[in-house]
């Protein structure tokens, strides 16, 4: 399993458009991917889970992936967050 901590930087957090970009990116990988926020585990491929997670600007989350492409998956999602979703 690969995991990495990252802080959400973009202004709106994982809301609306960023949330759907995040879920779509996660969906491209075969691995099981989870977002851990304050001990709660959210399926990264679930738009409802991610949006309901209330992940706002400044929140630190951990991204965990397990599977064939686990390293690539974590890198891609961390990159997306660090790029502030292109905002």
């Amino acid at each position: 399993m690969v995991k990495k901590e990252v802080t959400v930087l973009n202004a709106t957090g994982l809301h609306a458009r960023p949330a759907s970009m995040f879920v779509q990116t996660a969906g491209k990988f075969k691995s099981k991917i989870f977002v851990i926020k304050e001990g709660n585990s959210i399926n990264a491929k679930s738009i409802m889970g991610i949006m309901a997670g209330g992940i706002s600007q400044g929140t630190t989350i951990e991204i965990q992936a397990e599977g064939d492409d686990e390293a690539e998956a974590v890198d891609a999602l961390v990159q997306l967050i660090n790029d502030k979703f292109g905002e």
């Binding site: 202004a11 491929k45 679930s46 738009i47 409802m48 889970g49 309901a52």
Partner: protein, 577 residues
């Protein structure tokens, strides 16, 4: 016969038979289940079935209502596939031995509550999606088929508790003439749908589904917010008359749409709209405005959590400019301070905010921020007829200072080899009395004026119109205001290739139209809905008559006297407003 009053959601008057669309209550089985595997299969089949239905509805919605409505059902399909939804339901069945229907209800309600509690319209819409999808799956598990509105025999008004996207998408649009519902607001799905179908709707009627019977004749009046069930012959006649009057009115405005704003003796003026965001241009186009007389760019800043980037601003300005290839778009630079603040730009509290650090004064202090906006406007200027307007100008010195910064931005763009319109028009708001009095001096540095009557009145008459104790003094018809306007337009008439417009509320006031026309105003900028009425007035008078009325008004003593005189003059010209 009875009359009920609700919320106006979509205008118009319709008289038709009612069709009460009552959904079958979905009763779930709360007993514990032993054969969990069978329940899982039931759930999976229902999901599959729902997918097929959604795809059919999506195609119908796209062809009848457009891509945007179709996208709702794509979002619904995403909920159906969502692992948290699917796994959530399966976990309830496997771990808690719930029936498939009960498990779906529990998981749907759980997500609905989370989204519904968030104070954000985006999430409220998601909550509605989840509810709609949940009840679709439930119906498929329970084998319930709701009333079919897709093929109707006659014209009807739909009476319902509330309508979901699934309900409205499958409706027979040719037969549905209006909506009346128990719940809902101006921004709910039913309201949006009614406006896009251009049918009258009154919502929030409480218990209309209980008090109206199928086939009752009813009137939905989307102008007054009233519905009348089983009207008397007399009432029916009066509603028919009102309906006719409204249709005539619409026809009259529609006929005006593509006509010029020109007086009987050939004086042409420009009628344009005030906007706060790019989406507002649709209203101007629909009402026959030829451009934008005031683009309030502060909304771009106020609706954002961070300073809007040059790219974001460029895209917004460009889209507005492209909407009017042949008309002017006057972009007012950031007007913040006073009563408008930004979350990401700390400002000290002031004793007199309206006399303090606001608008252009703030931009001179925050030059970096100002330059981002000017660069964005310049870059967008190649896509149309951009006009840059500086707010809160009190003297020519400020105009020169602002133009120097604009010149800096132009040089930067030259160096970066980015294109912009080198002849972009530059103008100022006339809203401080000193600028009106010294208009001839300021005119030397600019291409146009736009009179902001709201602030001009406030500063000239020294009155805060939000203060109820003194707001009676706020009067755009006050002789001092008319004389200031005259001074500005007179200056403008002496200069070639120069115009004066007005973007305050007075420009859209039908009582002021003739007066302003006679004072020599060239451009009238107002809320889009006022454009047809003002156009009608302009097209019904001669410039000569308007000038006479304005000249007489300039010699009167009080605002009341002037208003009274204008009203009488309009009556003489057979203009009713």
């Amino acid at each position: 016969m009875f009359i009920k009053e609700g919320i106006i959601a979509s205008p118009g008057i319709v008289i038709a038979k009612s069709l009460v669309y009552e959904k079958i209550q979905l009763e779930v089985n709360k007993n514990k289940i032993n054969d969990t595997e069978a329940e899982i299969v039931k759930f999976q089949n229902a999901v599959k079935h729902s997918h097929q239905q959604l795809e059919a509805i999506r195609i119908k919605a796209i062809s009848e209502l457009g891509e945007e409505e179709g996208a709702i059902f794509e979002a619904h399909a995403m909920v159906l596939d969502d692992p948290e939804f699917v796994e959530g339901v399966e976990a309830e069945i496997n771990n808690n031995h719930l029936a498939a229907d009960y498990a779906v209800k529990i998981v749907t309600d759980r997500f609905f509550d989370i989204f519904d509690q968030m104070d954000d319209p985006y999430f409220s819409a998601r909550a509605a999606d989840i509810k709609d999808v949940g009840s679709r799956v439930l119906q498929n598990i329970l084998g319930i088929v709701q009333a079919d509105l897709s093929q109707l025999e006659e014209d009807v008004i739909i009476i319902a508790d509330d309508l979901t996207p699934s309900d409205t998408a499958q409706m027979d649009k040719k037969r549905v003439m209006g909506f009346a519902t128990n719940i809902g607001s101006r921004t709910s799905h039913t309201a949006i749908m009614a406006r896009s179908l251009e049918i009258p709707a009154v919502l929030g009627l409480g218990d209309i589904t209980k008090t109206v019977k199928n086939g009752d004749l009813m009137v939905v009046n989307g102008l007054t917010g009233k519905v009348c069930v089983n009207p008397s012959d007399e009432q029916l006649q009066s509603y028919e008359k009102e309906k006719q009057k409204y249709q005539d009115y619409l026809k009259e405005l529609e006929a005006l749409k593509d006509l010029e704003a020109i007086t009987l003796d050939g004086r042409k003026v420009e009628l344009v709209g005030n906007i706060g965001e790019p989406n507002d241009v649709a209203g101007i186009l629909k009402n026959g405005g030829v451009g934008v007389g005031l683009y309030r760019t502060e909304f771009l800043y106020m609706n954002s959590d961070v300073m809007p980037s040059e790219e974001k601003q460029f895209a917004a300005y460009r889209s507005v400019l492209e909407a009017f290839p042949n008309g002017p778009v006057i972009i007012r630079t950031l007007d913040i301070g006073g009563d408008k603040k930004l979350p990401y730009l700390p400002m000290d509290d002031e004793l007199n905010p309206f006399l303090g650090l606001r608008a252009i004064r703030l931009c001179f202090k925050e030059v970096g921020l100002f330059k981002i906006q000017l660069r964005a406007i310049l870059r967008a200027s190649v896509y149309g007829q951009a006009h840059i307007m500086f707010p809160m100008i009190s003297s020519i010195t400020e105009v020169r200072q602002a133009k120097a910064i604009l010149l800096d931005c132009m040089k930067e763009l030259d160096q970066e080899q980015l294109p912009y319109d080198k002849t972009v028009k530059v103008g100022v708001m006339i809203e401080i009395p000193s600028a009106a009095i010294a208009a001839d001096i300021i005119a030397k540095e600019v291409d146009f004026f736009s009179i902001g009557t709201n602030d001009l009145c406030q500063y000239t008459l020294a009155v805060d119109r939000m203060n109820q104790e003194v707001s009676y003094l706020y009067d755009p018809f006050n002789p001092a205001i008319l004389r200031l306007i005259k001074q500005v337009t007179a200056t403008s008439e002496k200069k070639d290739n120069f115009f004066t417009g007005m973007c305050g509320e007075m420009a859209g006031d039908p009582l002021a139209a003739i007066l302003l026309l006679g004072l020599g105003l060239y451009e009238f900028s107002m809320s889009a809905l006022s454009i047809p009425q003002i156009k009608k007035i302009i097209r019904s008078v001669t410039y000569e008559d308007a000038k006479k009325i304005a000249d007489a008004a300039l010699n009167m003593e009080t605002g009341e006297e002037i208003m009274d005189f204008v009203q009488k003059s309009m009556k003489k010209l057979n203009l009713d407003i």
